[in-house]
């Protein structure tokens, strides 16, 4: 519609050309999430990659939306900042009305699904995958996934990017062996998964945040890191 010749001459036609997202620029890698009996734990490292350059090594990819919801962002960091701004404004608007109504995790998840799917339909996606973690209105833990093409679902464990291939099997096995995992155990699981990701994902960093939501509230802790052993890397064969 914006390409019509007649539209070019309209008084109210935009001065700048219409731009569509073609590719992500500064990107974040995997976000992991696990739903526990007493809450939800999510984790993400603090790296903003500029292609293959590890450019911004202290960015926050986990965000507290309100006392009941945390989100983690994978993909284009500018688009994630845009989403954070929109969500912050929602929280402010609710506080200003002051009637006690707040958004729970499923509501935020649904809202994000609408926004992301709408942008995908206009061929101008927000190039992100968002993990939504938090409480429902009745206090149950909730973990959701929504991506740039509007795919959205809930699960006991979720992961984006490389995490879906490397960490997800680890998290699923851990949940199978321990179906009643607590948040404390999940934090250890996250650290283990992020360590493997640091070994295997070329766009990962050994510096991360972990976010925990329980009925009591939510907090993001970090930056943390794990011990890694690169000694086998000293004499690889085939890479001389």
């Amino acid at each position: 519609m914006k390409d019509r010749v007649a539209d070019f001459w309209r008084e109210d036609a935009p001065v700048d050309p219409v731009k569509h997202t073609m590719r992500p620029i500064v990107t974040g890698t995997s976000v992991l999430g696990v739903k526990c009996v007493d809450g939800v734990v999510i984790a993400a490292d603090t790296l903003g990659s500029y292609g293959s350059l590890a450019r911004f090594r202290d960015i926050e990819r986990l965000m507290k939306v309100n006392d009941n919801v945390l989100i983690g962002g994978f993909g284009d960091y500018a688009d994630f900042q845009h989403i954070m701004k929109l969500l912050n404004q929602q929280t402010i608007d609710d506080a200003v009305i002051g009637d006690g109504v707040y958004r729970d995790a499923p509501s935020i998840h649904n809202w994000l699904r609408c926004v992301l799917y709408n942008r995908r339909t206009k061929f101008n996606p927000l190039w992100n995958t968002i993990i939504v973690a938090g409480n429902t209105y009745t206090g149950e833990p909730y973990l959701g996934y929504v991506d740039k093409i509007g795919v959205s679902f809930e699960d006991r464990s979720v992961a984006t990017g490389f995490g879906a291939y490397i960490a997800q099997p680890m998290m699923r096995r851990a949940l199978e062996e321990n179906p009643n995992m607590t948040c404390v155990q999940a934090r250890e699981l996250m650290a283990r998964c992020l360590k493997v990701l640091f070994y295997r994902d070329c766009r990962a960093l050994n510096r991360f945040h972990i976010g925990v939501v329980t009925r009591a509230g939510c907090e993001i802790s970090g930056p943390l890191s794990t011990d890694t052993d690169w000694s086998i890397g000293a004499n690889p064969s085939g890479y001389e």
Partner: protein, 259 residues
């Protein structure tokens, strides 16, 4: 009083600081047939007296469902009520689509109030001539709200509006502190019908033809009962002493303050 000089437009104040058009709009509610709502512990109930414009026509529907968790009962201009109820339905639907959960009643009511306010301020428009009793249930429990043609809205424990509703308000005032402990839906409906009985014109009684009952609660979607389904509720209050003689018709109603 020189009321007539300043009442042609809604955008004109009177020297006493009143806007007469808004007050006239509130009169329209008093012309409508009575309806009332009561909030209990887990349920919100509305009942209405349906009027038939002639013996040949059906009784005018007074209770309109809005969403699974909310409905309204109207008094005043029915056509204005249709517009507002359509607005309320789309707001509720949009909220469900975007957030996946029901719109909280306080938000719904304030959105209607904001929409109605434009008709009380813009030249060339008029206020909506209908009073709405909103019965709904959300995270914080059951609610009854009254939305006035002035676009003011009030959260109520119980409220009665329409023609001859003063006697119903008297009954409600007497019992208002009991309602919050009433857990049984039927008991709440019985209270409502007893109050409604006081709004009848002379030599009329509550029948399955002229009474409508609506209710909503935690875990109970908004439901309307008409015609034969109302009979069981009427039976509950049948054996009781008839109420005091119905109040004299509208002439004695006091003027409402414009806030």
């Amino acid at each position: 009083m020189y009321r007539n000089q300043y009442d042609n437009d809604v955008s004109v104040w009177s020297p006493q600081g009143r806007i007469h058009q808004i007050e006239y709009a509130m009169e329209a509610v008093k012309q409508g047939a009575a309806t009332l709502g009561i909030k209990g512990k887990d349920y919100a109930v509305v009942v209405a007296l349906k009027r038939a414009s002639s013996d040949l026509s059906s009784h005018q529907k007074k209770i309109i469902p809005i969403d699974e968790h909310a409905g309204i009962s109207i008094a005043g201009l029915t056509s204005d009520a249709r517009i507002l109820s359509r607005f309320m339905r789309t707001e509720c639907l949009n909220h469900r689509y975007v957030y996946g959960s029901p719109l909280s009643i306080s938000r719904l009511v304030s959105q209607v109030g904001d929409k109605a306010q434009t008709g009380t301020q813009i030249m060339g428009r008029r206020p909506y001539g209908v009073g709405l009793l909103v019965a709904g249930c959300d995270e914080s429990g059951p609610h009854i709200y009254y939305i006035c043609p002035s676009s003011n809205f009030y959260e109520c424990k119980c409220m009665a509006i329409g023609s001859r509703s003063q006697s119903a308000r008297t009954y409600l005032e007497r019992h208002k502190d009991e309602f919050k402990n009433v857990e049984d839906l039927n008991e709440l409906v019985a209270h409502a019908l007893r109050a409604l009985r006081d709004c009848l014109p002379n030599e009329s009684e509550l029948t399955t033809k002229n009474v409508s009952v609506g209710y909503v609660g935690r875990g109970t979607d908004f439901t309307i009962k008409d015609d034969e389904e109302v009979a069981e509720y009427l039976k509950m209050i049948e054996e009781e002493k008839p109420a005091a003689a119905p109040a004299a018709p509208a002439a004695g109603e006091e003027a409402l303050d414009v806030q």
